[in-house]
Each structure stands twice: as C-alpha cells, then as structure tokens.
Subunit: 201 residues, 2 copies
DNA sequence: AGATATAATCTATCGTCGATAGAATTGCAA
DNA sequence: TTGCAATTCTATCGACGATAGATTATATCT
C-alpha cells in the first residue's frame, strides 16, 4: 500500500468522536425510547464506536445524563423568558402556557430533568440549574405579589407556582389525571390571585 | 384427583410462606439505603435465602416493588382519613398536614410510590391506587367547592390540591426548596379558597 | 521520507445485576 | 417404606457499567 493510499483512507476516516455527538445520540435514544434504553453500549453503538470511547468525554453515565438534563433546563428557561411582555399578568399567563407546552412537547426531557425516571443524575447540579430557572419565574411573578412585596415575597410565590405546575405535570404524565391547559392556568391564577385575596380576571 | 384437590386446597390455605417476609426485607432495605440498594440478591441475602427463591412469590422485581408501593399508598390513605372531622375547612387543613407529615416521615416510601426513584414499578397498578386515594381527597374537599358544586367539581378541586401537595413535596425532597408546613397549608388554602373567587370560564 | 511521540480507539475483561433451567432437597401421603 | 410434589438450591445466561492495556491513527521532528 502506497503512502497516498494510506493518506486517502486516513482522511476518509470518520471524524473524531466529539462530546456533542455523544450527547446528541444519547438524547435521541432517550427521547425516542426512554432513558432506560440509554446505555453506554447503545449510545456507542448508535455512533458506530466501541463503548469505552464515551469515557473519554464523560466521567460516567450520570455525568452524561446530567449534562442532557442541565441543557434541557436551559432550553426551558429560554422558552419561558424569550419575548415575554412587561405586563405582569399577561406574562404569568404566557409563562404557564409555555411551561405546559414544553412539558407536552418534550415529555422525556421533562421527565429526565425532574428525576421522574430511573435515570441516574447528579441532583445537586440539576438543582442548581433548576433554582436558577425558578428565579426567572420569580422575577416575572414578583409584580403580582402585592404592593409592598419584597423580592423574597416574589420568590416565595414563584416557588409555589413552580410546585403547582410541576405537580400538575407529574400527575398528568404519571397518574392519568389529564389536565387541560385551561385548568392549569386557572389553578395558577387562583394560587397567585389568592395571594392578594383579590379576584383575578 | 381427590388427592390433587386436597393438595391444592391445603396449599391455598397455607399459601407460600415468606411472601410477607420478602416484602418486609425489601421495604427495610429500601427505607434504609434507598431503592437502588434493593436488589433481588440483597433481599434474598438479608433473608438467608438464595436469590431465585424470590421468583416463587413475585413475578419479577417490578412486581415486588409495586406491591410495596401499593401498600404505601394504602397506608397514606388510612392516615389521611382516620378520625377526620366532618367540618370541611378543618378536615382539609388536617389532611394537608397529615399528607405533609407522611411525606417527611416516610420519605423513601413517598418517593417510591410517586416514581421519584429509578425503581421499576407498574405505573398502571400504582395509578389505580393513587386515583382511589385522590377520590378520598375529593370527598373531603367537596364541600369547599362552592354552593351548587357537583361531585365532579369536588374531584376537580381535589386533583389540583393533590397536584399542589405533590409538587411542593417533590420540590422539597429533590430541589432543596424547603417548604414549611405552614406555607403548604397556606398555599393549599389559597388554591382552594380562590376557587370561589375566580369565576370558571 | 522515516522515526517517534501523542492522541484516538479498540479488545478483553471484571463484577454486578435480573432472570431462568434444572438439579437437589425436603416433607407429606399411601 | 416408596413416591410424588412442594421447596430451595447451584449453575448459568445475557446485559449492564466500568477499567486496563493493547492497538491504531495522526502530528511532529528531523
């Protein structure tokens, strides 16, 4: 074999395995077949590599899945905040709707980032991202906390709104208690509106 | 034939000894070290048996864990309903407090029955038990739904209350957003009280 | 170009898991 | 006792996560 031939074959060699490819493959498998189906071997096989390759880019399986979860949270945060109107009332309504839609459209990602599957994830890392997300909700909800409300009050209300949204999502996904979007926004308004003890809408 | 019948009936009168032991051992390991630590082998070892014995009493690991989850739900249901006062307002407050206390005192069982761990469980079976539990909440909440409220209205409100409680519990356990009991009852009352303030669309 | 160092990837393997087959054991009945 | 059936075991399978060490490919330097 001549040198040129060797160079040709080498240059046609598949590209170097990258962290991003691995993440994409794992995410694709998880979204399609659930996170149980995401094994070191299945991801490597999807990419045409041997399994140990993944350990060049990720400490272990938990590291890989945690990265996917953190990116999903960032994605949700972007969805929630982009082009959000200034008006507090409208903003909250839109945010609730966007949260619910994200959950429906990215069910598996939602389950992963909320630890609703068996997938091993670093709860501390995910929690940091999630708290950051919650602060965004807090900023939006803040104006509705009342007249002399502090930032802490806004955050308090945001925590509870977040809890309600996640609770309804969890029941919707796990328990076959189907909630319509309208019921979700309705309940959210009731929870928030009750804070001022003033009827809303 | 007579022999077979006798043996059948005798074995039915004394069904396979050990099912209860297995459940207890598995539950004990799960409560102490998390459901990840509950393996067919660890349970069998705790009992001093060989692993395959467990398959005489349970179809598979999921069957075993599902049974524990269903019993946990029944336990919660008993806690919620025993000696509940007739007065609707007081009953709801007590129920919320009992729910929260159960979650704090039986964290691992709560996580298992809500699928918050990797533990493989039969979601359909658990869901049936959970819906039954939710109906109990519905009966209690019913009087608070309003003047001309139907049973469906009570159930609707119960679903949302349930969602709020579980959402706050999930955030409390997973996300390091600590909620005090007072905040939980407070939010619950706001959600329910708002039902009479916000007109339904 | 050839030699060499570094990076990239592979093969082989370990220990653990859930699960099953089939053998060994026990206990009761005729 | 003999024999059947319930009970429990040993041995094993395939899949998993993970690691060690060999192997190959690329870059660098003469």
């Amino acid at each position: 074999m001549t040198t040129d031939e060797m160079r040709m074959s080498r240059s046609r060699r598949r590209p170097v395995a990258g962290r991003e490819q691995i993440l994409s493959a794992a995410r694709a498998i998880g979204v399609r077949h659930g996170w149980r189906a995401v094994t070191i071997r299945s991801v490597a096989h999807e990419l045409g590599y041997a399994s140990p390759l993944l350990y060049e880019h990720f400490r272990d399986k938990e590291d890989l899945l945690t990265q996917i979860a953190v990116e999903a949270i960032a994605m949700l945060e972007n969805r929630l905040t982009e082009n959000l109107p200034k008006d507090g009332n409208a903003a909250v309504l839109i945010m609730v709707e966007r949260y619910w839609t994200f959950m429906l459209e990215h069910t598996q990602l939602y389950r992963l980032m909320n630890g609703m599957d068996g997938a091993p994830i670093d709860k501390d890392a995910v929690s940091r991202s999630a708290q950051n997300l919650c602060q965004v909700i807090g900023d939006t909800v803040q104006p509705l906390a009342g007249e002399g409300a502090t930032a802490a009050d806004g955050q308090t209300l945001a925590d509870e709104l977040w809890a309600l949204l996640h609770g309804m999502a969890a029941l919707h996904l796990d328990r076959f208690v189907p909630f319509e979007l309208e019921r979700v926004t309705n309940a959210a308004l009731r929870l928030i509106g009750g804070a001022r003890l003033v009827p809303k809408i």
